[in-house]
Amino acid sequence: MNSTAESRLQELPVLNTRLHYMDNLRALAMLAGVFFHGALAYSPMLHNVWPSADTQQSPIVDVIVWFTHLFRMPLFFIIAGFFVAYLVQKRGMAGMLKNRALRILLPLIIFLPLCMWAVIAPLLSAVASVQVKSPVLAMVAMAMATPGTPPPPPTTMHLWFLYNLVFFCLFTWVLHYVNWQWLRAYFNRVTPLTFLVIFPLLLVPALLSVAAPLPAPDSFLPQLWSFGFFGLFFALGYWVFGVDNFIERFKAYGFILLIMSVGLYVLFYWLIPKHISIAPPSLVFWKKLIVSSCEAYISVWMSVVCLVWGKIYLNIHNRFMRFMSDSSYWIYIIHLPLIFALQYPMMDKYWSLLAKYSATMTVTLAVGVLSYVLLVRWTPIGWMLNGRR
Amino acid sequence: MQNAIELKSVSKRYSDFYLDNLSLQLPVGQVMGLVGVNGAGKSTTLRLLMGLIQPDTGSVDVLGYRLPEQQVLAKQNIGFASDDMRLYKTENLRWHMQLIQSIFPSWDATYAEHLLKVFDLNAEQKFKGFSHGQRVKACLLLILARKPKLVILDEPTTGLDPVAREEVLSELAEILRDENRSVLFSSHNTQDIEQLSDSITFLHKGKLLDSQDKETYLDRWRRIVCTGDINSAGLGIDCITDIKRNGSLNEIIVNQYDDSIPERLSALGLSVSSVDRMSLEKIFVANVRAGAKA
C-alpha cells in the first residue's frame, strides 16, 4: 500500500481505530435490507416469485424498494472493500484472510444450513395451512402433490453477500500480486466528474447479462456478473481506502447526484416490466441498454451520495450507534426466516398493508434485538460476528 | 570428542570415479584445506561428510555422529556451503535469514547484521539480481550467523573478485578464532589454503596423497637447483618427485627434504646453487605431476 494509505491509517483516531461513519453506514445498509425484504410481500412486481406474497399490494412499495435496491448492496460492498483494505494495511494479507474467514466464512458455514432449515420449515407448514396461497406456495403445493418433481436447487438465500465476499477476499489476495501502480496513479488524480461518468460504464456489461431489476446472485455457483458488478464496488471500496480524501471530493455533488438519480430512476421504472415471473421477460436491446445504464449510474451515484452524507451526518459514536452497528449483522442473518414465518399466517388475515408491514417489522426487529442481547452479544457467536469486546 | 571429522577406509564407486580407501581426521578447532584438481574427489568427500552420499565401505563420523544414519543430529551443528548451492531467487536475503533463524536457535541476529555490513549485502534484494560474489557471501552469512561447530565449505573463494575474496577470507579468519570451531574447506586456490589452514590434505584421482599439518608439510618440500650431469650420477635419493633439465642446469623437487640432501648431491659431483622453500601452489603442481606420472 502506498503512503496515502499510511497517512489514512494515521488519520484514524488513536484510541478507537474505527471509522464510525463507515460502521454506521454498513449497519444502515443491512437494516435497509431487512425493511426491503419485509416489503417484498406487498410488491406487485414480485407477486409471482415471492413465497410470502400477500393479496395486499401497492405499486408505491415497488417504487420505493427498487430504488433502494439499486444502491443498498453496492454501498455495502464499497464499505466491505474499504474495510478489507484497512485489514490488509493493518494485519497483512494473511491476517486479512484469517480475519475474514472468521467473520464471514465461518458464519456462512454455520448459519446457512440453519437459515435454510428456518426458511423451508415455515414454507412447508404454510403450504399446508395458508388458505390464500401466493403463486409460489401454490406451485410448491402442486409440486409436492406430483411425485418425482425434482427439488429446486439450493441457494445461498439472503446470505449470498457473505458467499460473494468470500470470493472477493480471495480475489483481493490473488490480484495483489499484479502491479496496479498505473491504475492507482490514475485513480489518485481522477476528477470527481470523470469518475461519476466513467466508473458506472464499467458496470454496464454485467448488468446487461442479467434481468432488471438486478437479481440476487444467490446461486452456489459463483456468478460472473456478480464479480463484474458487486465485485467492482468492492474493488472501488478497496481503492477508496488508499486515496486521500476521496469522499470529500464529492461533497459538492451530493444533492445534485440525488436529484439526477431520482430522475434516472423515473426512466428506469418506466421501462422495466411491472410483473416478474420465474422466467423473467426479456427486453429489446435498446431498452435493456437504457435500463442497465440507469441501474449502473444510480447505483454509483447514490452510493456516493450515501458516503458523502454518511461522512457528514453519521460520523458519530455513541452507545446507540455502536449497538446498532454491532447488532445489524446478527439481525440481518436471522431476519429472512423470521419475516417469512411472520408473514405466512398474516396472508389469510384481512389487515391493511401498513398494519401487516409494521407488525412484521416490529416483531422482526424486536426478536432480532432481543436475541442479539440474550444469545449473541456476550457469547462466542458475538465474538465471531463482531470480534471480542 | 577428539576429532570433528573422522573418515575410516571410506570408498565410493561411481561409473567414472572411485574414491579409494580414504581415511582422514580433522581434530576439533583445526582448519583443514582440501586441495586437488577437478575430479580429485573433494566434492564427493564433502558430500559424504554431509550424509548426502552413503559410502560403499568404511565409516564416516562427524561431530561424533555416524553418517548418513545420524545426519539430522550431525547437521544441527554443521554449516555447509558449496559453489553449486543456490538460494531461492524469487526471495530476498532477509527471507532466507528468517528461515534459517526459525530452524536454528543458535542464530545470532546481531552477528548477522554485522556480516550484512561487512559483506556489503542488501538484505531486501531478491537473489535473482545477486552476483556470484554476493551469492557466496550470502551463503556464508547464513552459515556463520548460526555459529555451527563445524564449517564445511566447497570452493568458497572460487570465482570471487579480489575484494570479495578478501572480505570472505578475513571473515573466515575471524570465526577461526573460536577454538571449538572446526573448518574443512576445499579450494583450487592454494594461496587461500596457505593463508587459513592449519593442515593440508591432498586428494588426487580419488586417492589421498598427503594429509599433514601445514608447517611440517611445507617444510618437507624444496626446490634444489644444481648443475652437472644427473644421468651418469644415478642419484639414489628416493624423495625426488620431479627433475627438470635444461642443458646442464637441473631443477630437482624433493618432498622429504633434510639437510643431508645438498651434501649428497655435491658428493655425486653436482654443484648445488640454491635450495628454496616452495609455495603451496608449486607443491600442488609438483604433486599433481608426480601423481600423473605414478
Binding site: W173, S209, S219 | V72, A81, L87, T90, I103
Partner: protein, 226 residues
C-alpha cells in the same frame, strides 16, 4: 533411515513450499473461481467452464511438482535444503504434505462441486460414479507424477509422464463407456454403484497408495542423494 522424523523442521519446509508457491496458487485459485463463474452462464459456457476447471486442477498439479521438486534440483536450491538438519525421508515427507495439501483442497472442492451440480441439476445422477472415477484419476495422475518426480528428479521424464497420463484421460472415458456395467447407468436418475465401478475406483486407490509407498521406499534407499 533409523531415526524418527524431524517434525518441527518438516513443518517449516512445508510452510516454505506453501509460501514459495503462493503466486502459483493465487493464479490457479483465481482461474478456478473464474471457471466456476462461467459454468452457470449457459450450455457451451458450462462445457467451457468445466474444461477450464479441469485444466486448472491438472495445471496446478503439474506446476506444483515442477516448481517444488524439479526446480529445487534444477535451480540448485536442493543442496541448501539438504544442508539443513533433515534426512532424505524428512525431505520426502515435507514434499508429500506440502504438495498434496496444496492439490487436495482444490481437488476436493471440485469433487464436491461436481457431485453438487449433478445432484441439484437435471443432469442425470447416473453420471456421478463416472465423475468420481474421473476425479480420482486426476488424483492418481498427480500422485504418479509426484512419485516419478521424487524418484527421478528429471524434468524430461516428469513431463513425459505428465503428457502420457493426460493423454490417457480420453481413452479412460472411452474404456469406462465400453464397460456395460458402468455405461448402462449413465442416463439413470440415481447413481448406481456396482462391482465394476467400485472395482475401478478401488484399483485407482490401490495405485495411489502403491505409488506413494514405492516413492518413499526408493527415497529411503537412495545411496546418493545429491
Amino acid at each position: 533411515m533409523s531415526h524418527s522424523l524431524n517434525i518441527p523442521l518438516i513443518k517449516i519446509l512445508i510452510q516454505k513450499d506453501w509460501y514459495l508457491s503462493r503466486k502459483l496458487l493465487a493464479l490457479y485459485v483465481g482461474g478456478s473461481i473464474f471457471a466456476l463463474s462461467f459454468i452457470s452462464l449457459g450450455e457451451w459456457q458450462f462445457f467451457m467452464g468445466v474444461t477450464l476447471l479441469m485444466s486448472m486442477v491438472i495445471g496446478l498439479a503439474n506446476h506444483l511438482v515442477t516448481s517444488t521438486i524439479i526446480n529445487e534440483r534444477k535451480e540448485q536450491t536442493l543442496p541448501f535444503i539438504m544442508s539443513l538438519p533433515i534426512s532424505p525421508t524428512d525431505y520426502a515427507v515435507a514434499k508429500l504434505i506440502a504438495n498434496k495439501s496444496l492439490f487436495f483442497i482444490p481437488w476436493l472442492a471440485i469433487l464436491i462441486t461436481t457431485i453438487g451440480v449433478f445432484t441439484f441439476t437435471p443432469i442425470p445422477d447416473g453420471l456421478i460414479p463416472l465423475s468420481i472415477i474421473m476425479c480420482s484419476y486426476l488424483l492418481l495422475s498427480y500422485c504418479l507424477v509426484w512419485a516419478v518426480g521424487m524418484i527421478v528428479e528429471t524434468e524430461g521424464i516428469v513431463i513425459l509422464v505428465m503428457v502420457v497420463l493426460n493423454c490417457l484421460i480420453g481413452p479412460l472415458i472411452y474404456i469406462l463407456g465400453s464397460i456395460q456395467d458402468i455405461s448402462s447407468h449413465f442416463q439413470s436418475a440415481t447413481q448406481v454403484w456396482n462391482s465394476a465401478s467400485i472395482g475401478v475406483l478401488l484399483l485407482e486407490f490401490f495405485l495411489i497408495i502403491a505409488s506413494l509407498v514405492i516413492a518413499f521406499y526408493l527415497q529411503a534407499r537412495k545411496k546418493t542423494f545429491l
